[in-house]
């Protein structure tokens, strides 16, 4: 980088042409947006942070560029720099050209002419990007008014209705007068997209547009983005950390690391033929929902470099298993990969890497751990947790002084399952399906609960006094979602780990010994015990959280979204650790996660919840491999897979609407309002769905399956709650992206 910045003015005159040649993407005249040598520096408490170090790309109309990287890799800063939205303290240099006009260096006022007009952006958090005090209509019309002062009121309103209809909001005319809080998260993100495309932008930047949303809603929003792009013909920059999300959408991919692009190229080049170890690691670190075979994930050790310091070698070298001395001798430039026109990688070893090199070997993924319980049939293991008909209903009241009960929210409505020793049981479902409430009910362990919780033979119905409770606490521990919030910032690691042990009444010496053991167990340095949590990285903090949970030797660990707050590469390390601990210590897990790929990777059994009820439960490979309930099928089809081929040809079920409010839950089958099978059923059968509640019944193997399985063994471990599992799917809800459709003008 230093050589680039020191290039004198005489040299830089000749640079653009040369760069284009190297970029090999297109001539400048075709590109809607072309970014050259973009640098962004921030001043911070500790010195100058060089957040973006030389980003180049060209974007054609109607094409999609995916920028992929971990947090802190500079992808969001890049997008903000293009939009001119960085704070004044940031130093931005380089060139950003929109249709040949330079944007960098323009005043804020001049930029306003482009922002929302030719350049538009969709932000990550739909909850905070709309102003709560204005109606949605006002906010869309505002975007129109600013750039079209001459437009009449009627025309603007008509356009707003048109836009809302385009992003798939039902009865758009009435919804125009609704306030943001009347919309769900997915709907708000649609409104954001509507505002962004209001003035037919040439470039649409989407910064993690679906990260805050549920999978089914994510599928909807991605679909809307796709439509929006087709309608406006805009070029899209899609920024994400999820390799699955961009696989089906993007034409080109840019992988960023430590503020620099380390690999760029077409989608297929990057996914099937990665030439940079970091890309390989990223791809190997993501568990896949469509793969049943169990392999360990590829962990990338260490942390991204500190951008305060000028890297002296390849910035990935400290974490790269292939790093050698030449790697540390200078930062490798982004150079073309032989055999492909657009594919470029910043690695001196890129030629020896390729499709035939396996990331598993490169990163030395650990062997798959085997638990002593794995060989034992499930029926012979003892149960560590049993739930019998757990219910949690919240009364909904109205009125300030005299509270009238106007309804009941059935957060959890009659759930039963059991977890055996050495088993990982997962609960999946959208937010609002009652997963977390189920966990809280288990952790509560109170006598007055509706339903029975049995933990390690201790029932909440029998003596739930202090002694039983503390005995139960020793059997059951919890790991939280957010590793930062779960550790008291004023405690050292020693104090954090000592707390449960002191509580169990251990003496000082024993506590000290146990803490050293625990630190080693979770792969942390034992002499780090005197540090505060904020001196660790996210992955290390989660390891401390796991160590705390394991301190009292519990039989069952409850994991509440244990990896969702972590970066992909770190996530793999934590998942591998959990897998290993389960095998070594014979632990059982109760995992709650919204990421079905993680669930498939780690669990043995899974329950799918919808509106407080289990709709399908069973062995993970059976449920994911052969889902029977339409909701499970929809969930699975909504998950993006990091494989462009699969993504493009896959049939997706896009569910209509959001999770209904538990207040007006349907009488019969909860899922009927969104069910793709229900929509296609004849009215006579629909009646049955609406009036009767389907019970959870075991799968009856079909004739063919029965003849295939020679011996009539025990019935498969899979139960589901649906009357018509084999019904036709409603065609309106099926979406297939073939390649031709994808590149529509």
């Amino acid at each position: 980088m230093s050589s680039e910045t020191t290039a004198g003015p005489a040299e830089s005159a000749g640079l653009p042409a040369e760069r284009l040649h190297v970029a090999g993407l297109a001539a400048p005249s075709d590109a809607v947006l072309s970014v050259r040598d973009l640098h962004v520096r921030f001043t911070s408490e500790n010195g100058m942070v060089h957040a973006v170090r030389g980003v180049d790309f060209d974007l054609m109309a109607g094409k999609t560029l995916g920028i992929v990287g971990e947090s802190g890799s500079g992808k969001s800063v890049t997008s903000l720099a293009i939009m001119g939205l960085l704070p004044a303290a940031a130093e931005v240099s380089g060139s950003v050209r929109l249709n040949g006009r330079e944007l960098l260096g323009l005043s804020d006022k001049a930029m306003c002419g482009y922002r929302g007009n030719e350049l538009a952006m969709v932000f990550q958090d739909p909850l905070s990007s709309l102003t709560p005090v204005y109606t949605v209509g006002t906010q869309i019309i505002e975007a129109l008014t600013i750039h079209n002062p001459g437009m009449s009121r009627q025309a603007k309103e008509a356009r707003a209705v048109e836009l809302l209809a385009m992003v798939g909001i039902p009865s758009p005319k009435d919804r125009l007068r609704a306030f943001p809080h009347e919309f769900s998260g997915g709907m708000r993100q649609r409104v954001m997209i509507a505002i962004a495309i209001a003035n037919n932008p040439r470039v649409l930047i989407a910064d993690e547009p679906t990260t805050a949303l549920d999978v089914t809603i994510q599928a909807q929003v991605l679909e809307v983005l796709h439509t929006a792009q087709e309608e406006t013909g805009a070029a899209v920059v899609m920024i994400t950390h999820d390799l699955g999300v961009v696989a089906g959408m993007a034409d080109d991919i840019m992988v960023m690391y430590a503020g620099r692009p380390v690999e760029t190229g077409g989608v297929d080049d990057i996914y099937y033929n990665p030439r940079m170890p970091y890309t390989m690691g990223l791809l190997g670190a993501v568990p896949r929902v469509d793969v049943a075979e169990k392999t360990s994930l590829v962990p990338i050790e260490g942390m991204p470099p500190n951008l305060l310091h000028q890297p002296t070698g390849c910035s990935f070298a400290p974490r790269c298993p292939l790093a050698s001395d030449p790697c540390r001798a200078g930062e490798p430039p982004l150079s073309a990969v032989p055999g492909s026109a657009r594919h470029r990688a910043a690695c001196i070893k890129s030629e020896s890497l390729g499709a035939d090199v396996d990331a598993q070997d490169v990163f030395a993924a650990p062997p798959v751990p085997v638990s002593r319980f794995d060989a034992m049939p499930r029926e012979e293991r003892s149960a560590v947790l049993e739930l019998k008909d757990i219910r949690k209903h919240f009364p909904l009241t109205k009125g300030a002084l005299l509270k009238r009960r106007i309804g009941t929210v059935k957060a959890v409505d009659g759930i039963s399952f059991d977890i055996r020793e050495g088993e990982c049981f997962s609960i999946v479902g959208e937010s609002g399906s009652g997963k977390t409430t189920t966990l809280l009910e288990i952790m509560e362990f109170h006598k007055d609960q509706d339903g029975e919780v049995v933990i390690g033979g201790l029932s909440n119905k029998q003596a739930a006094d202090a002694r039983t409770k503390s005995a139960m606490r020793r059997e059951l521990q919890m790991v939280f979602q957010d590793p930062t919030g779960a550790l008291d910032p004023r405690f050292t690691v020693y104090e954090v780990l000592a707390e449960p042990l002191q509580n169990a009444g251990m003496d000082r010496q024993a506590i000290k010994k146990r803490i050293m053991e625990l630190m080693r167990l979770v792969g942390l340095q034992p002499d780090h015990v005197n540090r505060f949590p904020n001196q660790f990285s996210g992955g290390q903090r989660q390891r401390i959280g796991i160590a705390r949970a394991l301190a009292v030797n519990p039989k069952l660990v409850v994991l509440d979204e244990p990896v969702s707050a972590l970066d992909v590469s770190v996530q793999a390390g934590v998942i591998n650790l959990l897998d290993r601990l389960r095998a070594e210590l014979g632990l059982s897990y109760l995992l709650v996660a919204h990421d079905l790929s993680v669930v498939r990777h780690i669990s043995n059994r899974v329950a799918v919840m919808y509106l407080g009820k289990i709709v399908e439960i069973g062995e993970v490979d059976r449920v994911f491999g052969n889902p029977r309930h339409p909701y499970t099928r929809a969930l699975l089809s909504a998950i993006p897979v990091p494989d462009p081929q699969v993504e493009r040809t896959r049939e997706r079920i896009i569910l209509k609407g959001d999770l209904p409010s538990p207040l007006d839950a349907p009488k019969g089958c909860n899922f009927a309002t969104r069910c793709p099978v229900f929509a296609a059923l004849p009215p006579a059968k629909q009646e049955k769905c609406l009036s009767l509640e389907p019970p959870l019944e075991p799968v009856t193997p079909s004739e063919a399956a029965r003849t295939l399985e020679a011996a009539p063994g025990p019935s498969p471990d899979q139960r589901f709650a649906c009357f018509f599992p084999d019904g036709q799917l409603d065609e309106d809800m099926l979406v297939v992206h073939d390649t031709a459709d994808h590149h529509a003008p």
Partner: protein, 334 residues
């Protein structure tokens, strides 16, 4: 991660970096440094400490005390014998000021510290238990806020508190009354802060580990609102001193023969023209006292606030260094 038990080299490198860059500084050290960087606050602290010292040892520099009447010097201006002059009754003003400052500081410190302590425990308890406990305690709190403090003070220190007055010196009585009426605002603030802390996972984690409520409040809640407590103590001390002065000024606080700054100021208001020193000396001391506390408070707030600009200096210096580093690198490269 072939072997999880082994310590990975990247983490080790990270350690070296951490230690090298002095990142492992205790939080108290950081706060102390930031406080010391604020010159005004340090000056405030110095003035406050000097005044405290003066109030304890100042009495040794004069043969007079607050009760002895000098019949030869009645209402005299400052002189060599009476450093600050004497009152209408012939009592040495210097001796009275020393005594008054001590009483004022005593009242301020005791009320400031104890009321914040009560507020912390009360507020945290409310937040921790919630529900009915919270409602009941909040009712008590609101009732106290609505009680006319002025009247109660007047009654307690004058007529109604006759029985009490015989057993207790008037300053102790005032401390008690001030304590009863000074903690509610802080308690409410602490309640709302702790309620947000209660939502944090580390409190839940402690609950799920079976840690008893008393320990959770004391070990997790109180330390995490510590910075607020320190700020509230200095603020509370100022408020208590001012309340004492105000009450004594209108004649319902400290009663003679006890003296305080308020009593001195109150007694001298009618004679500003004839005996100006009787008015200005205690007033100046009071300003110094409350002013120094206000200066300290400002510095403390900056020191505790992570987003404050009090690290600006260090940043600018480093940034400049970095800049030179970069230009060096660039020179080398070219």
């Amino acid at each position: 991660m072939t072997n999880l038990n082994a310590v990975d080299p990247a983490a080790a490198a990270q350690d070296a970096h951490l230690e090298g860059a002095d990142v492992v500084i205790g939080k108290s050290t950081i706060i102390f440094r930031r406080f010391m960087r604020n010159k005004t606050a340090v000056a405030g602290l110095a003035i406050f400490l000097a005044l405290t010292l003066f109030s304890f040892v100042g009495g040794y520099f004069t043969p007079w005390d607050k009760e002895t009447i000098d019949p030869f010097n009645i209402g005299m201006p400052p002189s060599a014998e009476h450093y600050l002059g004497t009152s209408q009754a012939g009592i040495d003003l210097y001796a009275m000021t020393v005594e008054g400052t001590r009483i004022s500081i005593l009242i301020g410190l005791v009320v400031g510290l104890v009321s914040v302590l009560i507020a912390a425990v009360y507020g945290c308890t409310m937040a921790y238990f919630g529900g009915k406990v919270d409602k009941l305690m909040l009712f008590v709190l609101e009732a106290l806020i609505m009680m006319p403090a002025l009247l109660v003070v007047a009654v307690a220190t004058s007529g109604g508190g006759a029985g009490l007055k015989q057993d207790l010196p008037s300053w102790l009585l005032l401390i008690i009354v001030l304590l009863v009426f000074s903690w509610m605002g802080t308690a409410r603030l602490i309640r709302s802060l702790s309620m947000s802390l209660m939502q944090r996972d580390f409190v839940k984690a402690a609950q799920y580990m079976g840690v008893p409520p008393r320990r959770i409040i004391w070990r997790h809640l109180v330390p995490n609102i510590g910075s607020l407590l320190v700020l509230d103590i200095t603020r509370g001390v100022t408020a208590a001193i001012l309340a004492e002065v105000a009450f004594s000024f209108i004649g319902i606080g400290i009663k003679l023969p006890d003296v305080s700054l308020g009593v001195l100021i109150g007694g001298a208001t009618s004679q500003v023209q004839t005996f100006p020193w009787m008015f200005w000396v205690p007033l100046t001391v009071m300003f110094l006292l409350t002013g120094s506390l206000a200066m300290m408070n400002d510095g403390l707030r900056d020191a505790f606030d992570p987003s404050s600009s009090s690290s600006g200096k260090a940043r600018k210096k480093r940034a400049r260094n970095n800049g030179t580093d970069q230009s060096l690198v660039q020179k080398k490269a070219s």
